[in-house]
């Protein structure tokens, strides 16, 4: 049985390379997008094989799910003649360089590897030593929200900046109401949305002691919102200036900044938590960040500023 494991890994690696090739060079954009989504799923499997379930969760939820939905909806709005033009553009020479430069680098890296690789020069031991001070049992959460909280702050900032840019592009092209004659999708979305909420809350709660946390939880919740939107539901998120939505979108970034500044005024370093409060502060940050990430991903999918009041599209 053990002989099959390297075979599986080799197959997985070869499939990933082939799918990456397809998603860059496929002449048909639809094929490229589907290849990219399958690439995300298999990449999640590769992270599982590398024993990094946290990244696998994030990759499956964000890389395959949310990004795939974004790309597909962008593809659906692209005019037909742009298809062929884009396909020709894709095969220009500069893209070949983009593809081959990393491949050559990787080959050189593999070639220069020693037969017996030395112990990884990472910071794993440092994290293991200092983890009790962080107040959480999951080393990944400790790194994300305590040791390297600045990185997470910047990541959420990038998400917020992205959705700000999209809001400034113009009004959202979505209107609500049933677009398709099939009753199956609304029925399924209604039946499954509670499961999305449940899984999201579970992932958030799990983050303190096992793989999970704000990013996968937010991505699952955002995907649930996208499913409801596709099924014709009226989104809660509106573009009104008086509503709570702008506050909720900035809640993650805002809470992190407030926590970091307040602890600094209390005599600690930027993003150093008082040791008694560390676990509770991290839970608070995860909750705020998860809520914001879910709303931000949903706002990205809307593709523009949502209206103050959603109009019903009605039956087509």
């Amino acid at each position: 049985m053990d002989a099959l494991v390297p075979l599986f890994d080799a197959l997985l690696g070869a499939l990933l390379l082939w799918l990456a090739w397809q998603s860059i060079f496929a002449a048909d954009l639809f094929r490229a997008v589907v290849s990219f989504m399958i690439f995300g799923l298999l990449m999640a499997l590769a992270w599982v094989r590398l024993e990094a379930p946290d990244i696998a969760l994030a990759e499956a939820a964000i890389g395959a799910g949310v990004t795939g939905a974004l790309l597909l909806s962008a593809l659906g709005r692209l005019p037909r003649e742009r298809y062929a033009e884009a396909a020709q553009h894709i095969l220009s020479h500069s893209y070949w360089l983009l593809f081959w430069a990393p491949v050559v680098l990787l080959a050189w890296f593999l070639w220069s590897l020693e037969a017996a690789p030395p112990s990884p020069p990472g910071l794993g031991e440092m994290v293991a030593i200092h983890q009790p001070a962080a107040g959480v049992d999951n080393p990944v959460t400790a790194v994300l929200l305590a040791f390297r909280a600045l990185d997470t702050l910047l990541e959420i900032g990038v998400l917020l900046l992205g959705s700000l840019a999209i809001w400034s592009l113009g009004p959202s092209p979505w209107s609500t109401g049933p677009a398709m004659p099939s009753p199956a999708l609304p029925a399924m979305a209604r039946a499954l949305f509670p499961a999305f909420v449940l899984v999201s809350v579970y992932l958030l709660w799990r983050g303190s002691h096992a793989p999970g946390g704000a990013f996968p939880a937010g991505a699952v919740m955002g995907a649930g919102g996208v499913l409801m939107l596709l099924a014709g539901a009226r989104p809660w998120l509106t573009g009104g200036e008086q509503g709570p939505w702008r506050w909720l979108l900035t809640l993650g970034l805002g809470t992190m900044l407030v926590v970091a500044s307040v602890t600094q005024f209390a005599g600690y370093v930027f993003f150093q938590y008082p040791s008694d409060w560390s676990g509770r502060l991290i839970t608070l940050l995860e909750l705020a960040a998860g809520l914001s990430i879910a709303l931000l991903l949903f706002a990205l999918y809307l593709g523009g500023q949502p209206p103050v009041r959603w109009r019903d599209r009605g039956w087509q």
Partner: protein, 99 residues
């Protein structure tokens, strides 16, 4: 291996041909409706058998129920997805094969 584990292995092996035949149907059938028919039915039965087999091999009731839950979610999702694809194709004027 115990009898339950052998039964699990048998279930997994029994599920594999359904995936294979579903894929053959996807590649060889003449139009989108027959392909969807082959793919959804074959994969759903195959996944059910594989999940049940893996659950039996795991020897844990909680794990078996989790795997069966995955199967039920897949059943709902694939039935809805296949219906959507078929209805969209029909409304865009893709005629079923032989009509």
């Amino acid at each position: 291996m115990s009898l339950v584990e052998w039964l699990g292995l048998l279930m997994v092996l029994f599920g594999l041909p359904f995936f294979f035949l579903g894929t053959v149907g996807l590649l060889r059938f003449p139009d989108v409706y027959t392909r969807l028919h082959a793919l959804a039915k074959g994969d759903n039965v195959g996944l059910g058998l594989v999940c049940l087999g893996l659950g039996l091999q795991s020897g844990s009731l909680a794990m078996t129920l989790k795997l069966l839950l995955i199967w039920i979610l897949m059943l709902i999702a694939s039935a809805t997805g296949v219906g959507l694809i078929a209805r969209t194709a029909l409304s865009r004027g893709v005629r079923p094969w032989g009509l």
